[in-house]
Each structure stands twice: as C-alpha cells, then as structure tokens.
C-alpha cells in the first residue's frame, strides 16, 4: 500500500494471517447466543464440500444454542444451587458444562470422520474461549 508519508514506527509491519489456519467467526446476527458462522472460509474452498461444512457447524451450533437455552431443568438446578448458597456448584456440573463437553466429543468425532481424512483439524471452540472455531490445514 502506498502512502504519502512514512507511517509511525509501530505500524511499519504488515501482518499476514497464518497460511495454514482458517477461522470460523461467531455469528451475532441472532443475538448473543452461541452460534458460529456457517459460511465456508476461503482457505477451505476445495478442501471440504460446503454442504458438509455447513452441516458440521450447524450441528455444533445446535449443541451450543441448547447450552444457553433456559429450560426447566436449568432453572431448577440454579434454584437449588441458590438455596445452598451456591456451595452446590463446588460439587456438581452445570448443564452448560455438560453441553460444552458434548461439543468437545462431537468435535473429536468430526476430526476422526470428516476432517481427519481431508487433512484438516478442527480445534474445540472451548480452547479458543468460544471466540472462533479454528481449523488447521495439516497439509497444504
């Protein structure tokens, strides 16, 4: 990029994104619910069919959205915890944690069946603070 003046020193480097990683960002169009974009990243074009990718992300989204839905069991669990002064949380696992664990298992499953054979690897979004789903391109 050209400019008429040299930029301040701290901005003299242009940073390129990593060539072997694709990122699936969060989709906030439905609010703050946990949902990732189902759009196929450019780096994965040709590596994985779009329908497969959409289905995979869709399934992960379903589990994540279920984690944030207020169901009767979730309310009961919270009420019970409140009555114990929240000491119950020290020994029990919340519904949300169970959902995130099932997402981890699903990601493992997809790595074995869908991504592994295509030399891709999906990183569990919990490892990335639920910011992005990172997909590593194992071989160029």
């Amino acid at each position: 990029m050209s400019s008429s003046k040299p930029l301040p020193n701290s901005y003299s480097a242009t940073i390129l994104p990593p060539a072997n990683k694709a990122f699936v960002p969060r989709d906030y169009s439905h609010g703050t619910e946990l949902r990732f974009s189902t759009e196929l990243p450019a780096k994965l074009q040709g590596r994985i069919p779009e329908e497969v990718f959409t289905a995979v992300i869709g399934n992960i989204n379903q589990l994540l959205i279920a984690a944030e839905t207020g169901s009767a069991s979730v309310y009961l669990e919270s009420c019970f915890a409140c009555l114990t002064g929240y000491l119950a949380y020290l020994c029990m696992e919340t519904q949300y944690e169970k959902c995130l664990r099932s997402v981890s298992r699903l990601v493992e499953e997809y790595n074995r069946t869908v991504f592994g054979p295509r030399n891709l690897s999906m990183i569990d979004p919990s490892e990335r603070g639920l910011r992005v789903i990172e997909i590593v391109l194992l071989r160029p």
Binding site: I15, F23, S121, I123, L138
Partner: protein, 410 residues
C-alpha cells in the same frame, strides 16, 4: 509446562493457583467484609443473648443463616470469573487485523487509525461491534473492556470496588443476591438491634442506661442504618435493570433508551419482567472460559486433536504436545515465531507460521512459506536471535523432524 493462570496477561489477580480471580486492589472489599463480619459477630455475640432468651432462639439462628448466605454471595462475586473473554491468539489476531482497513495517512498528512468497527444486525436493530486491540477479539454485543482489570468482560455491568471485582455475566446473579440478602440482613439486624435495646430499656426502665449497657447494639444499629440506604437503593436499581434486561453499562450509555430514540429496541428483552428476572438470576451458568487450571500449550500453536484413544481432546492435546511457550508479556506486533513440530504418533503436524514483513517488501516471500524472515525498519535482515527465553520444545519423540529455523526478535 506452565498452567494458563501463570501466563494470564490481564491485570486481575489470580489466586489459589488459578482457582479464583479478582481485581488487583481489594482494599475496599476488605472494608466491606470487615463491616459485615464485625457487625454480625457483635450482633450474634451480644444482642442475641437477650433476644434468644426473651423472644426465640430462632432469632440468632436466622441471623446466622443470613450471615452465611450474604458471605457466600459476596465471596462468589469477588472471587469468581465475571465472564472474562480470553484474549485472542496471535494467529486469530493476525487473521482479524489483516481484514481490517489498515492505518493510513491521507493527502493532508493526517494519520487515520485503523477502522475497527463492524455492524451486525440483531432482531432488526444495528449493533456496532468493536475490535479490542488489547484483547485481540471482536467484542461480542453487550461485552465491554474493563480498564481496571484490563479484560473484556461479557455482559459487562460495572467494576465494583466494594466487591473487588468486575460484575459481568457470570457473577451478576451473585452480586444481585448479595445486594438483596444484605438489604434484608441489614434490616433484620437493625430491627432486632432496636428490639434488643427496647427490651433492655424496659428491664432497666431507662433507655440511656440500656444504651450504655449494650453499646454494641448502638454500633450495629448505626452501621445497619447507614448501610441500608445505599444497599437497598442499589438493590432496587438493579431489580429495575434486571426486569428490563439491561446492564448498568448499557443504562449509562443509553443503549436501550427508547424514550430518546424509539428505534433502540432491546432485542435481549423477553418482553416480560418476570421472564427476564428468571433468565438473569436462574438461567444457564456459563463456565469460566479462562480454563486457568489447564496447561498452556502455546500461544495459539495448536496441536491436532486427532487421537487414537478417544480421550477428551484437551487432555490428549496437552499430553502429546511439543510445547512452545512464550513469555506472556511479549506483544504480538513485535514477536514472530515459527515452529515446525511433528510427533511420531497419530497426532498430526502443525505449522504455526506467522509472517511479518516490512512495508517495502513484496507480499510474497521466497521459500516454502515456513521460514520467517524478520527485517529491521530499514529493510536489512535482523540476526536470528531467539530471545524471550521460554522457547522450549519438550517431549520430542525420536523420529521427529528437525525444527526449521527460528528467527525471533522481541
């Protein structure tokens, strides 16, 4: 291999080896704790002696139960993760920042900072998402960056010095219940303190004599009386906020102020005050995303989760990793690192190549794309010196490939 809490870059205080997190400055929290504990002890030790005998032994029992509940809520609010969003990895940051319109200098010579806003439409209303340069992430709607703790916090309410922590999504219910329970408890202590004085004065036939005989009652009544105004007031304010599904931060900014701007609808409002209350107070509890107790397996240098034993991906990744750790204080813009790790078992390759080039060079560098060549500002290559210390490649198996050249300046 360090744990994640050991490399945590924010300004919050991590306690008990990553099990708790709070603000760095807890002096006002200690004051709050002292006021509650000392008043309660005085009340239970002195006032309840007469009350238990004259009225009922359930009076001190109820007081004790309330005291414990108030303490539990307070300690939960102070020491739990308020909903901190972990910082983005360098790779994520590179990806996002490459998409942002970069800093530019226009014809007049004015410097324009990089554009870091994007619009997202939620239920018919446009929200502006900001890119947080400190945390290297797109801030979700309702999240905000706390300058005291230097973190982005989800559904940020406010930073409360009395409680010694930010109040955000994860600990808002504890904060609110602390306020409500403390209001009730203050009222309880004040009422029964007065009852105690009245009973004593009836026995002694002199109110002043009763006060002299039980000075701690006077003290607890005064503390409770002055606390009630602020605690009940704040509790009422937060009740109103909860019913409208707004946070203090949004209320201050007027994000959902429909009186001024009728199109500023609140898409998070479920329409019914009771439904909002139930969701905020008893809805799903987000676990802490910081995962402090886990091993830090590198700044976004990811290990494939393809394993042959079906264990939880996190555990197997940590176990099989050839860890590359970096000093947490290193800022992304100065650090480049390339590591070519391979392990002999079924865990796959990872290349963590981040290319940094100076402005005057062409975008494509020669070579296989794995080498990182760092240039100084004037275009001459810097000597490849590994600094910043902790570039350990541990637990390598015998048939690993040799690591490619690592050039790194801090």
């Amino acid at each position: 291999m360090p744990k994640r809490w050991e490399v945590y870059p924010g300004k919050s205080q991590v306690l008990f080896s990553g099990r708790c997190i709070s603000a760095k400055n807890l002096s006002v929290f200690y004051l709050t704790l002292a006021l509650i504990v000392i008043s309660s002890c005085l009340f239970l030790a002195f006032d309840c002696r007469l009350l238990a005998v004259t009225l009922s032994p359930s009076v001190p029992v109820l007081a004790a139960v309330q005291f414990i509940f108030v303490l539990c809520c307070l300690l939960r609010t102070t020491f739990s993760d308020p909903g901190i969003i972990p910082r983005g990895t360098p790779d994520e940051a590179a990806w996002i920042e490459s998409q942002l319109e970069g800093p530019q200098v226009d014809r007049d010579g004015n410097y324009r900072p990089p554009v870091r806003l994007k619009d997202v439409q939620i239920s018919g209303r446009v929200f502006k998402l900001k890119y947080c340069f400190t945390c290297k992430l797109w801030r979700p709607p309702r999240a905000s960056h706390c300058s005291t703790c230097d973190n982005c916090v989800d559904r940020f309410d406010h930073h409360c010095p009395w409680v010694g922590n930010c109040v955000g999504r994860r600990n808002y219910r504890y904060f609110y219940l602390f306020l409500i329970s403390l209001s009730v408890y203050c009222l309880y202590v004040m009422v029964f303190g007065i009852v105690n004085l009245v009973l004593l004065s009836n026995m002694r036939k002199d109110f002043l004599m009763a006060m002299k005989e039980s000075p701690t009652s006077v003290l607890t009544i005064l503390v409770a009386f002055f606390s009630i105004w602020s605690v009940v007031g704040l509790g009422g304010f937060h009740t109103m906020l909860i019913c409208r599904e707004t946070s203090t931060n949004e209320d201050i900014k007027g994000s959902f102020n429909q009186r001024r701007h009728p199109d500023l609808i609140n898409p998070f409002d479920q329409g019914n005050g009771l439904a909002n209350c139930c969701y905020v107070l008893f809805g799903p509890v987000t676990p802490s995303l910081l995962n402090f107790r886990e091993d830090e397996i590198g700044l976004g240098s990811s290990i494939s989760l393809v394993t042959n034993n079906g264990r939880n991906g996190t555990a197997s990744a940590a176990a099989a990793s050839t860890a590359v750790t970096a000093t947490p204080a290193v800022r992304y813009s100065n650090l480049t690192r390339n590591n070519n790790d391979a392990t002999s078992n079924s865990v796959g390759h990872v290349n963590n190549s981040v290319q940094v080039i100076s402005e005057s060079l062409p975008a494509q560098l020669p070579g296989d794309g794995n080498d990182v060549i760092v240039k100084n500002g004037n275009g001459t290559p810097a000597d490849g010196v590994i600094s910043g210390g902790t570039d350990t490649v541990g637990a390598q198996n015998s048939n690993t490939q040799s690591a490619s050249s690592v050039h790194c300046i801090v």
